[in-house]
């Protein structure tokens, strides 16, 4: 029996005195697309960053395909190769060309030979529609293009699941669509995805489930149609009203 990609058990996280995650438990199934929603400061980005241990959980555990990544002896680097991560600020390596951005972790982490790494990089770049930018430096690309390259870079590692931390929040409005399109295609191809986002349209159309968080707890979760159209909790209603006004 295959363990689920991500299983979060009673996760707590403190920043000093402040408890930002107060007992989060949820399981992400194979091929499931889950959107994490909630006001800023609700802990959703922290939760996402705990999943690949960019933040250390204070208590509780996170099982990646059955292996506890919060364990002291966990092979964190090895587990991370199975978890693709996309950041709000793209975080492409500015001193490397697009091709080298896509190749370096394949070479240095997976030990793939250069020609194989190049072939995979070209394939992934085609998937995000940026084959013609292969020799550019990131600074020559628009924000939307940089984010698509960042997605391709994560895909080059053949991850079993992808984490997106507000992938469109740093983009000009007219560039958001191209990134969401790539993410939609990825979801349709069956990728397991955990997405922190404010894009309600994307959550409605693409997500299998949305999780609404506030003040470090899961307030409610369920199919996007129910949670977004007919929320059960006042806090969810207030949040949805507030972003509609925007």
């Amino acid at each position: 029996m295959n363990a689920p990609p991500i299983e979060i058990r009673d996760l707590h996280k403190y920043f000093g005195e402040l408890e930002v995650l107060r007992g989060i438990s949820t399981t992400i199934q194979q091929g499931e697309v889950v959107c994490l929603l909630g006001p800023s400061g609700s802990g959703k980005s922290t939760l996402l960053r705990c999943v690949n241990r960019l933040e250390e959980a204070t208590a509780g555990s996170i099982l990646i395909e059955g292996e506890d990544i919060t364990d002291e002896d966990a092979d964190v680097d090895g587990l991370r190769t199975r978890i693709g991560m996309v950041f709000q600020q793209f975080n492409l390596f500015p001193h490397l060309t697009v091709l080298r951005n896509l190749r370096i972790a394949q070479r240095k982490v997976l030990g793939r030979p250069t020609d194989e790494a190049t072939r995979i990089a070209e394939e992934m770049l085609e998937r995000v529609g940026l084959s013609d930018k292969i020799d550019e430096h990131p600074s020559r690309l628009s924000g939307g293009q940089q984010q698509r390259v960042a997605i391709a870079r994560a895909l080059c590692m053949n991850p079993d699941m992808m984490l997106f931390d507000e992938p469109t929040s740093a983009l000009d409005p007219e560039l958001i669509g191209e990134v969401l399109d790539v993410m939609r295609e990825l979801a349709e191809a069956g990728m397991t995805m955990l997405v922190v986002t404010h894009e309600m349209g994307f959550a409605l159309q693409v997500a299998d489930r949305v999780i609404f968080m506030d003040e470090g707890v899961i307030v409610e979760e369920g199919p996007p149609n129910e949670v977004l159209r007919n929320p059960a909790h006042d806090r969810t209603k207030r949040f949805l009203r507030a972003i509609e006004v925007e």
Binding site: F87, N91, H95, K108, V109, L110
Partner: protein
């Protein structure tokens, strides 16, 4: 009314500037009339002595200055990188050691460190660093240079955005791999101008190596000049080596300016 006030102010400014030019003219005229040009020529620009100094001032003096600098810089930068990484380490004793080292050797005169390496160690342990002036000098200067460069490198690493490390780690890179391929290449781009400045300082500091004594073949520029000065009882060698130092340092400072301007342009 107002315009009259402006006019008056302008006139006052013009008068002030005129006075400054006048004073400058007087000083220059006084120098021209009263300075003993013949004496200056004989003491600082004696053609015979200049001719006598070549080619050794280049083949021995400048050559040794460059060799001492290069070796000290090479030792210093490797050691500095180690110190910088220690200073950023999550292991507290490493940080303490790096901090203590950096504060100690930046706080002491370089001359003290050189004397310590050259004479202190042999006195204390009856053992001396091999390689004569070159070995002792390069290590003494390298120890000091490392303390300065470590802070520069640390600042460079910290100037690379945090997200770069996070992106590298989330691709499965170990912290060492991420440091080597992602952080350091970007850090060094940032710190090439300040590091070149350290190199210029180091070139000038090789003049301190005279304390270690020297053979005719191991003199650097300053020692070379002092020996010729003593032999000829004349100050001309100072002029010659000053020009030699400038020939080495000015292209480097020019390079730093160019690199800084290039870095500025890339930021935009």
């Amino acid at each position: 009314m107002a315009s009259e006030a402006v006019l008056r102010q302008r006139r006052r400014q013009r008068l002030g500037r005129g006075a400054m030019y006048g004073l400058l003219g007087l000083v220059v005229a006084a120098m021209v009339f009263f300075a003993d040009w013949e004496q200056i020529r004989k003491s600082f620009f004696n053609v015979e002595i200049i001719k006598d100094m070549f080619p050794e001032v280049v083949t021995v003096g400048a050559r040794n200055t460059i060799i001492y600098t290069a070796l000290a810089f090479a030792l210093g930068i490797v050691w500095a990188l180690g110190l910088a990484l220690m200073k950023l380490s999550s292991v507290a004793p490493y940080r303490w050691f790096a901090t203590a080292y950096i504060e100690l050797f930046r706080g002491l005169p370089a001359l003290i460190t050189i004397i310590l390496v050259g004479f202190g160690l042999p006195l204390a342990f009856g053992w001396s660093i091999p390689g004569g002036t070159l070995g002792k000098g390069a290590i003494g200067l390298g120890i000091v240079a490392a303390a300065y460069m470590a802070e520069t490198i640390r600042a460079g690493i910290q100037a690379v955005p945090r997200g770069q490390m996070e992106a590298a780690r989330s691709l499965g890179m170990s912290s060492g791999t991420a440091m080597t391929y992602i952080m350091l290449p970007q850090a060094f781009r940032i710190i090439i101008p300040p590091l070149t400045n350290e190199l210029v300082l180091l070139i000038k500091d090789t003049s301190l190596l005279f304390v270690l004594g020297s053979t005719p073949q191991s003199k650097e520029l300053t020692k070379f000049a002092r020996d010729v000065m003593a032999a000829k009882v004349n100050a001309t060698p100072l002029t010659v080596v000053a020009v030699m130092y400038l020939l080495i340092t000015l292209p480097l400072t020019y390079l730093v300016r160019k690199l800084e301007r290039k870095a500025e342009a890339e930021k935009r």
